[in-house]
Amino acid sequence: MATLLDKLWDPHVIADLGDGWWLLHVDRVLLHDLSGWRAMEEMRSRGLAAAAPKLAFATPDHAVSTAPGRRGDSYGPGEKLWSGLRDGAARNGIDFFDLGQIGQGIVHVMGPEMGITLPGTTLVCGDSHTCTNGGLGALAFGIGSTELVHVLATQVLRQRKPRAMRVRFEGRPGPGVSPKDLVLHLVGRIGADGGTGHAVEFAGEAIRALPVEGRMTICNMAIELGAKMGFVAPDETTFAYIAGRPYAPQGEMFERAVAAWRDLVSDEDAVFDREVVIDASAVAPTVSWGTSPEHTIAIDAAIPAPEQAPDADRRAAWGKALDYMGLDAGRPIAGTPVDWVFIGSCTNSRIGDLREAAAVARGRKVAPGVRAWIVPGSEAVKRQAEAEGLDAVFLGAGFEWREPGCSLCVAANGERVPEGARCASTSNRNFVGRQGPGARTHLMGPAMAAAAAVTGTLTDVRRLGA
């Protein structure tokens, strides 16, 4: 009667610290230039060394420019973060994937594609979207800088075991409905704290039918439900994805690992602290209208009015959100003009996402006055897309084709959506100022973002036909 959470958690317990707290072994650490650099500096100043450097992997993603031809110092304030991460990794014997090398990219895109993220492993990073890696059945979660130093120095963490939650997506989504739509719908339905204190297992027919990349898109937004961990039970799809990746076990060792990974499923009679069931067949392409990921609606719905909010605090918050977003309640969200389009981020920058966006862009043109960026999630994604000619499709349609990194998802590298501009974005957060001070973000899937680019407005991609 064990849940998948039990099967991921319990084998990593080194000691019971009492009252639901455990000393937990960490199998993988991912480091990026924003928090990893800080952790490296802290380690140096305290005279600490990495306890298990071969279990850690570093790459710059947050504060590096994504402009074509960029270098580590192209964004001035990021230069010391990039070089500090590189030097800290070298000092500690940690593999570092530099700009232009396979392995460079958004850490949560890099980990899975390099075979670093494996089912049944515990994986941490100083980054809340570490839950993305749960798409392969890893227990992956974000931590702060102090905990990051702790884990680098000891390879363990003191953690409280979260409660177990399961979200089942039953049925199959209709045409034009992507994994992003499923998860945006979910956050809208149960709220930005609907999973707080829980680890979320995503299950059900719609999840099983997804490729690993789509599962990662859904796990990526577990944190937008308040859950720092989200995961999907690994299956044949997962094993096929991992086979042959550079850091994955090979040959006989791979077979041995797969045999162990097959047990990583919730037992039939497992009991969850919370369970949510979503009818995937009833989910429409979904977009955000406000400043919290819980502010989502179907693309064919009307912008909600504060009076419809469930309580007084939310009524006030919805009013402020509409003001910030410059939207009028009651009008259809479709048709809202956009100034910018961003296709990228650890949510939606993998090759499958770019293929979906390219299918919409092919033979069309970016609408006049719209600036549209494609930022591949990693060097490997970029090269694959170029091998398939997707860069030519995008460039031909008037998109900009850029270098891998976090870019406009988090605006930590000087790249920003201008104040007051409205951006259709495949990222994960529509917070106030997230894409730049005063920027207005609408979250959506890659095909929907491409549709916004070519029409110049928020558009139901199903009406375009791909």
Partner: protein, 212 residues
């Protein structure tokens, strides 16, 4: 870490739900600001206007709440990004305690690493406290007895994991605590290398011809 025992002072009510760590400290302040000076950018999008001038309506800019050590916040405070700078910024404006119905999990963990006490109380109690806080009268948060005491003298008990309480009271450094267990960790790792060799990169059998 600075210990936390009791704190007395104004409690600033900021009852908007879902205040995220991007609002608590904008990302571009993380790349170029020393940890000790992040307080100047705490709540930057709310605290300052577009021209950089203070927004007089923002609660921490009002005379009664400048330097308040306690914040009473809307639900899901500190959701979003894992940036520990959010806690450093709050500490930098003098806050030692945040009271809310719930917190972002990662933010809450970061509070405990920095001598900041997150107090979780029911929505109804938080609303009640916020109403009593509007004039700036002093509250006391007593971690020893696990009580929030309102200006009128009413006590509101709260729960906190005993390990976290002890660490805050004593100002314990988690890393120093864990380092006492290094032998236990090593023993565990040696056993794990036999049961899950594929996790351990340095084991030659874990990779094909040492290809990595």
């Amino acid at each position: 870490m600075t210990p936390f025992t009791t704190v007395t002072g104004a409690a600033a009510p900021l009852m908007q739900p879902n205040i995220d760590t991007d609002v608590i400290i904008p990302i571009h302040r993380l790349t170029g600001t020393a940890r000790e000076t992040m307080g100047q950018f705490a709540f930057e999008p709310l605290r300052y206007g577009a021209d950089g001038a203070e927004n007089p309506d923002f609660i921490l800019n009002r005379p009664a709440f400048r330097g308040a050590p306690i914040l009473i916040a809307g639900a899901n405070f500190g959701c979003g990004s894992s940036r520990e700078g959010a806690v450093w910024a709050l500490r930098g404006v003098g806050l030692r305690c945040v009271i809310a119905e719930g917190f972002g999990d990662i933010f809450q963990g970061n509070c405990y690493q920095n001598g900041m006490l997150p107090v979780t109380l029911s929505a109804r109690t938080v609303e009640e406290l916020a109403r009593q806080a509007v004039q700036g009268a002093p509250f006391t948060v007593d971690l020893i007895n696990r009580m929030v005491i309102s200006p009128g003298g009413t006590s509101y008990p709260f729960d906190i994991p005993p390990l976290r309480r002890e660490a805050l009271l004593e100002g314990l450094d988690e890393l120093a605590q864990t380092r006492k267990r290094l032998a236990e960790i090593t023993t565990w790792q040696e056993r794990d290398q036999e049961t899950r060799p594929w996790v351990w990169r340095h084991l030659p059998q874990a990779t094909k011809e040492g290809s990595t």
